[in-house]
Every structure is written in C-alpha cells, then in structure tokens.
C-alpha cells in the first residue's frame, strides 16, 4: 500500500517537471537565432569607428615575415585599413572581414538565418547566414556565437571568388563593444613561384624538405593581437585612401 502511494507521487513529480517547460512555452529553450543575431548586432553597432594598435604575425607557407607593429583603422560602414607603422606587411585579400560588422553589412533582412544548434564541447551557438542576393560574393557565413556575452567567437565566410575566410576571436577588455583582443584570420593562398631566370637564386646545395602536409596546406594565417582601441573618437577618411 505504502509502495503504491510513493510510486503515484513519483509519477506526479515527473509529469509536473515535464509540464513546466510546456506551460512556459519556448522561453526556456533560449533565444531564437534571430534574437541572438540581433543582440550581437546591437553590440557591434555601438562602434562607429576605431583606431587600434596591435602586433601582426603573418603565417604563410612561402613568406618569411617579421612581426609587424600595425595600426588598424575602421569606420562604418565597411572601411578598414591595416597600416604597418614601421615597415612592410603583406595584407591578405578579404582582411576587411576582420571587422565583424562586415558580416551584417546589408542588414538582417538581406540574409536567411539558419539555426544549426550548439557546438558540442564549446556550447557555442552555430548560426548560418545565407545571403538572399544571388549575386552576392558571399555564399555563406557560419557564426559560432557565445550567447551569454553576445560575442562571435568564430566565423567562416565562403565567397564565390576568394575561397573561404575563417576568423577566430579572443575577447578581453573591449568585449562590451564586440571588439576582440586577438583575431586570427585564415585565408586561402595560391601557389607562389617565380622563374629562376629572374631571381638567379643561390643554390646552397641543401635538400629542401618536401613536407607533403606543408605543400597541401594552402591556408595562410594572419594573427593580430591588439593592445588598445580608441573607440568612437573619429577617424578621418584620408586614412583609407
């Protein structure tokens, strides 16, 4: 008798637990993809322009380059310039994409939002943006968003002409503006070769290592570590010429 009563109670508790989320609708399942995108945009929209100091490291198979001191300038809607303060830097095409505003350049109505769910392990929300304009160079953008802070941690942009760009962001003291302390920008590179008749290289007789993985790796990386941002202080247009 006692056993039957306790079994009835446990069923009631289970039903109650299942019923609570149903009664409260979808709210407990977290914000919709549209809401997540809106909150990310709201954060990024706080920034009209910035000037940032940083150090840039270039990692491309066929380039040996020193770490460069750079100044990065941004102005809404899509102006971005990376200036090496004390030398030369090879700036990859598509580097304008290090500015995350660029993803939403044509407004939220210009793309379809696809909610892919959360990434196992990191718990980042994966949202794909599919441009409605068939002539758009961007074919697909995949965003990995930290919902709790409304920050894009990773972004992959596939373009028609320039391959795929990948961004990885680490945030610090400028997180409230959606500005990263460290950005790793990965991009596709093509083979580099110049005729020996032009370069007249010195052949030192050493056998060059033919690492097949290295040759297959056609991805270049640029890493910018920002030391400080000067936000919404105004940036003259002359900088971008």
């Amino acid at each position: 008798m006692k056993q039957r009563t306790s079994r009835r109670w446990s069923w009631k508790i289970v039903l109650l637990l299942l019923g609570i989320p149903l009664l409260s609708g979808y709210k407990a399942a977290g914000p919709t993809a549209e809401e997540v995108i809106a909150s990310v945009r709201a954060k990024l929209d706080k920034v009209n322009d910035y000037e940032a100091n940083g150090k840039m490291k270039t990692n491309v198979v066929f380039i040996k380059a020193p770490i460069a001191k750079v100044k990065v300038y941004f102005k809404k809607p899509d102006k971005l310039r990376i200036n090496n303060e004390s030398g030369i830097s090879f700036i990859p095409k598509g580097s304008v994409n290090i500015n995350l505003n660029n993803i939403f350049l044509n407004g939220t109505g210009s793309f379809d939002i696809i909610d892919v769910g959360t990434e196992a392990g990191t718990n980042l929300r994966i949202i794909k943006l599919l441009p409605k304009d068939e002539n758009s160079d961007v074919v697909l953008s995949t965003l990995y968003i930290d919902e709790s802070q409304s920050l894009i941690r990773k972004a992959k942009t596939t373009t028609k002409d320039n391959g795929t760009y990948e961004l990885e962001m680490t945030y610090g003291k400028y997180a409230e503006y959606g500005l990263a302390d460290k950005v790793i920008f990965s991009f596709n590179t093509k083979d580099y070769k110049l005729p020996k008749g032009i370069t007249f290289d010195y052949d030192d007789g050493s056998k060059k290592e033919q690492d097949p993985n290295k040759l297959k790796n056609k991805k270049g990386k640029v890493e910018i570590v920002y030391s400080e941002y000067s936000i919404n202080k105004g940036v003259p247009d002359t900088v971008f010429r």
Partner: protein, 296 residues
Amino acid sequence: MWKLLQIELFKIFKRPRTYIAFGAIAAVVFLIQIALKFDGKSYIDLLLSNLKDSFDFNDDFKLDLLNGYLICFVILNTLLIQMPLLVALISGDSIAGEANMGTLRLSLTKPISRTQYMLVKFLASVIYTVALLVWMAILALFGSMLIFGTNDMVVLRSEGIEQIKSFDVMWRYFAAFGYAAVALTTVSALSFLLSVFAENSIGPIIATMSIVIVFTILSEMNIPIYDQTVKPYLFTSHMVAWKGFFYVKADAEGTTINGSIENLPAIMRSLSILLIYIGLFFGSAVWVFRKKDILT
C-alpha cells in the same frame, strides 16, 4: 714591393680605359634607378603577379617595397653577372699588356723576384676590383637609399619571399659586398692566369668572358645530370652566394629571425671554394710565369 704596387696602381688608374668600367657601372645603375623611379610599380606588379589573388597590393605598399634596399639588390643581381667583363679588362691586360708593349722583360730587370712581381700585379688587380665594388656600393646602395628611401627589405626567391627588417639589412650588404669582392677576385685571378699565356690582352679578356658565360649558363641550368656532377665545382655556382646573406631563418610559424642567415655553412663552403680557386689560379700563374721564357 710597396713602391712597385704604387707604380702598378698608378699605371692602372692613369689609363683612360680603366674608367670605362666605372662609367659603365654608373650608367647601368642610373638607368635602373631612373626606370624603377618612374615605372617601378609595373616591375612590382610583374614580380607579384601570382600573389595578387591572395594579397592586397595598394600603391603605398608598392612604394614601400620599392625602397633603396630592394633597388640595390636588383642592381647587384643584374650587374654582378656583367662585372666579370669589367674586371677582366684590367687583370687580363696585367701581364699580356706588358708583353704586348715590350716592357715585360724590362720590368723584370728590376731587383725583385718574379713571384714578387706577379704578387704585386695581382694585388693591383684586386685593388682595382675592390675600387669598382666600392664605387658600385656608393651608387647602388647609398644612391638608391637617397633616391628611394629605406624600409623593410623584401627578397623575392623562386619559391618564397623573405622579409627583413630595415635595421637588419645594412650589415648584410657589407657582408655581400665583401663576398662579391672575393667572387670577382676569382674572375680576376682566372684572367690573370690566362694573361700569362698571351702576348696581347684581347685573348685573355675574351677567354675569361667565354669561360664565365659558359660556366654561368651551366650553373643556372636546372638539369639533373649537371646538378650533382658539374655544378658544385664551378666557381660561377658559388659567385652568387652573396645572396645567401639575404636569406633568413624563420621560426615554425614563419616569423623572420632577426640577424639570422638561413645557411651560413653553405656560404662559408662557397667562400672556401672561391678562395681555393683564387689560390689555384694565382699559384698556377706564378708557377707558369717563373718557368716562362720572357722574350718581349
């Protein structure tokens, strides 16, 4: 012997044709500088044409790239192939010219040994070679720095790009010019050796140039049968090792290591081979000259 060296240098620098080489270098350097000053961007476009899909090369980038250090590298790349001719003009004339004028026998009546005489003649040729290089350094390096300014140096190799910070460049040029002096002294020694066998200077000069041209073609051809057999022993293969000073080491992530040289032992090996050639050519010249009947 010092007095004799002074006389030899006086003879070399008194001749108008000595200055042909200085004039030729100045003309080539100025022509390259003018061309790159007015149309350097096209040259950069050509060099970076297969990178333009991956990188943004705006006008500022091209102007920064076209700095004095790169211009000097381009000039050296062009001129150091032609300079053996200019060096051979003097060293090829060294003994053969005396024989042609009939002054060789007279010169040897002085109270000095034939070895000393040869040493002085060769030293005078070496000083002329160094003077040519200093002249070239002034025009090509310092002149270009003045006209184009300085910045990081970018060296374009057939399979990669090396970027060197501007503060890390100058010592490399001093090392490269030092090496080039040894490389050209090798040509000078060859010409000097050939000069011993001839009665007029045209023969040794043309013979030297022919050897240098044939060897350079063999050195630059990428044919496997020559790569392992002939190429490593040709002095022309090692004459371009000055470029090795501009090939830098990088860490695992491709970041340049300041002050580094990619393969210093290889440069040293090339330098040793050139020094052996100089010793061999000069030693042979002295040996032949000591045994030679001087009839003119």
